[in-house]
């Protein structure tokens, strides 16, 4: 068996060459100032920077305002409902970037759904649609789910007939 240093080194080089795409000798590591360095992914940042459906609905059929016990933030969702279907949705949020992005995305997702469909809305949908949230920021999407449900409850309270009335038209695609 040849134990010379050269042979040994060569063997190692061969292994690395074949199996690893990692380059160990990057000669410079540069700091750049581009978008790479943000706390959230691009999708979340987009919804934070350019929120969809931000605002109030003057003649809302249901309004829900909830607070997050975890961090103390507050979210409000207003819904316009016609024939048992969500025609329009708006949000206002006192909360972090993830909360603002979550409420923006949630209002996008639920437009066009029936009240019944919206009742089973889950925060996971928001997380998926946003391409993921950091683990500590999942509760912000839960806040969006809860604000939506509070708005739906408010609607049902004001329109008891709606709870039982059949929905007109075909159910919306999820």
């Amino acid at each position: 068996m040849d134990l010379s240093v050269d042979r040994f080194a060569e063997a190692h080089i061969l292994i690395w060459d074949k199996t690893s795409p990692i380059s160990f000798h990057r000669s410079e590591t540069k700091m750049n100032n581009n978008k790479e360095y943000t706390l959230y992914n691009e999708k979340v940042m987009d919804h934070f920077m350019n929120p969809r459906n931000m605002g109030d609905l003057p003649s809302a059929d249901g309004v829900g305002e909830v607070g997050a016990a975890a961090c103390g933030d507050i979210m409000k969702i207003s819904l316009k409902i016609e024939d048992g279907r969500i025609k329009d949705a708006r949000f206002k949020t006192f909360g972090c970037g993830s909360a603002i992005a979550s409420s923006s995305m949630a209002t996008e997702l639920i437009k066009g759904r029936t009240v019944e469909e919206a009742m089973s809305f889950s925060n996971q949908e928001v997380v998926d649609a946003l391409g993921g949230l950091p683990p500590v920021k999942i509760h912000c999407s839960v806040l969006a789910e809860e604000a939506l449900k509070a708005a739906l409850e408010d609607y049902v309270k004001k329109h008891p007939e709606a709870a039982s009335a059949p929905t007109k038209g075909e159910p919306a695609k999820a």
Binding site: N33, T38, L39, M45, F48, M49, P51, M54, D56, E65, V66, G67, A68, A69, A70, C71, G72, D73, I74, M75, K76, K92, T93, F94, G95, C96, G97, S98, A99, I100, V136, H139, C140, E146, K149, A150, E153
Partner: protein
């Protein structure tokens, strides 16, 4: 070409001074020896360490360079001070006294010691964040072996009455440890005149490198090692010294001491400009800590914008090229607002919107004006998205900063809507 970002987070770290960087270079490649070695490579480096100790001693008015212990950073220095003094004195007593607004490295070191039979008392601060001396006196017992109070607060810039604390410590024969990581290099320190027995700081806060921390220890204060396996630092901190960082840190300390008056004067003027500008341009803003002046670090501006939250401000400011920190809950992994803001009795909703700006010697007046203008835009934008701002406009909730006497408090409102949520969860 977009403007270069304005760095207003010198509390987190500062760039290494080019003179310091130059001085460090040979210690990576040529003078790479281990100071514990007995041959020429070791001896050469030992000489450099001795010089750095003298420079560190010079910054804080310590008489003897042998009283300087070198660690890996401010956190380790704080751990060593608290645990090292506690273990060394456990036959004398088991009671530790600290302020409510210490850095987590002090708070949690003491929490760790409490699991091992030590006890502690946290002394409250007033609404500006200054330690209550009367409460400190009350807290001391004949079992007290350590008083730990920082020199200046990271979050709100409050400068503590350390000389008075030093006097009390001397009267009672108790060791006084002062964490000066926020203040060293920016505001004068004289361990002798202040009656400080142990003092920690980290050069990367004043244009030195990361990876080195300093613990000054008056030889009269007993201290045992918490790192074992070597005789470095006279047996009080085992482990090979980070020579390049120590050399660089030493030079940074010497420069900081020599340039301190100019640096402090410059950042103080910027601080005044920034605070005045923000107060004029942004309504419903609360400044935390003492006003710009002798009770406040010249580098720190801490504020809370009402009706909005801090992380959103931080993200938008970053996007517009202003880099700051926040003490709000959404920014912290624990989802708790900064314990310092809680200690000064800041309303939770206000603490949520807190922003910490820390100045450095390279900042300019023009930058301050840009920050003021940008901050006004950011706050306006986020208020436009906030349900609380709306409800304030409608008179449903009131402002804490400038109460109008209409509507209930934000906190009451938040409790109610959160209650609504819990009620739903129960169903």
């Amino acid at each position: 070409m977009p403007r270069p970002p304005v760095f207003l987070d010198h509390l987190s770290s500062t760039p290494v001074d080019p003179r310091v960087f130059e001085a460090m270079k040979p210690f990576f490649t040529e003078a790479f020896g281990n100071p514990s070695s007995l041959h020429r490579y070791g001896l050469q480096v030992r000489e450099a360490l001795r010089r750095a100790r003298e420079q560190f001693a010079f910054l804080i008015g310590a008489e003897n360079a042998d009283d300087i212990l070198l660690t890996s950073g401010g956190t380790e220095a704080n751990n060593l001070a608290v645990k090292g003094v506690a273990y060394a004195n456990q036959r004398k007593g088991n009671h530790l006294v600290l302020s409510e607004t210490e850095h987590p490295s002090v708070l949690e070191s003491i929490a760790f010691l409490e699991k091992q039979g030590f006890t502690s008392t946290k002394v409250p601060v007033d609404a500006q964040g200054i330690l209550r001396l009367d409460k400190l006196r009350e807290a001391l017992t004949d079992q007290t072996i350590l008083i730990a109070v920082h020199h200046a607060n990271h979050d709100i810039g409050a400068i503590q009455p350390v000389a008075e604390i030093g006097k009390i410590a001397a009267e009672r024969g108790i060791a006084f440890f002062c964490d000066a990581t926020a203040s060293a290099g920016w505001t004068p320190i004289d361990v002798k005149a202040m009656g400080i027995h142990l003092l920690s700081f980290a050069p990367h806060r004043f244009y030195g490198p990361k990876g080195v921390g300093v613990l000054y220890r008056n030889r009269k204060a007993r201290l045992v090692s918490i790192l074992h396996g070597g005789v470095q630092e006279n047996g009080r901190r085992a482990g090979t010294e980070n020579v390049p960082a120590i050399v660089g840190g030493g030079l940074a300390a010497e420069i900081a001491r020599k340039e301190l008056p100019q640096r402090a004067e410059k950042v103080r003027a910027l601080q005044k400009r920034l605070m005045a500008g923000l107060a004029a341009k942004v309504p419903y803003l609360k400044f935390n800590g003492p006003p710009s002046g002798p009770l406040r670090l010249p580098t720190n501006v801490s504020l809370a914008a009402e009706f909005i939250e801090g992380e959103g401000q931080l993200l938008l400011l970053d996007h517009l090229g202003v880099c700051v920190a926040s003490g709000g809950s959404c920014v912290s992994k624990s989802l708790k607002v900064s314990h310092v803001l809680t200690a000064i009795g800041l309303d939770h909703a206000l603490a949520q919107g807190s922003i910490i700006m820390t100045l450095g010697k390279e900042n300019t007046e023009e930058e301050m004006d840009y920050v003021i203008e940008t901050m006004a835009k950011v706050v306006e934008r986020l208020r436009g998205m906030s349900p609380m701002w709306d409800e304030f406009q409608q008179g449903k909730i009131d402002s804490t900063v400038a109460p109008r006497g209409v509507g209930r408090s934000f906190t009451e409102h938040a409790a109610e809507v959160s209650g609504h949520r819990e009620e739903r969860a129960r169903r």
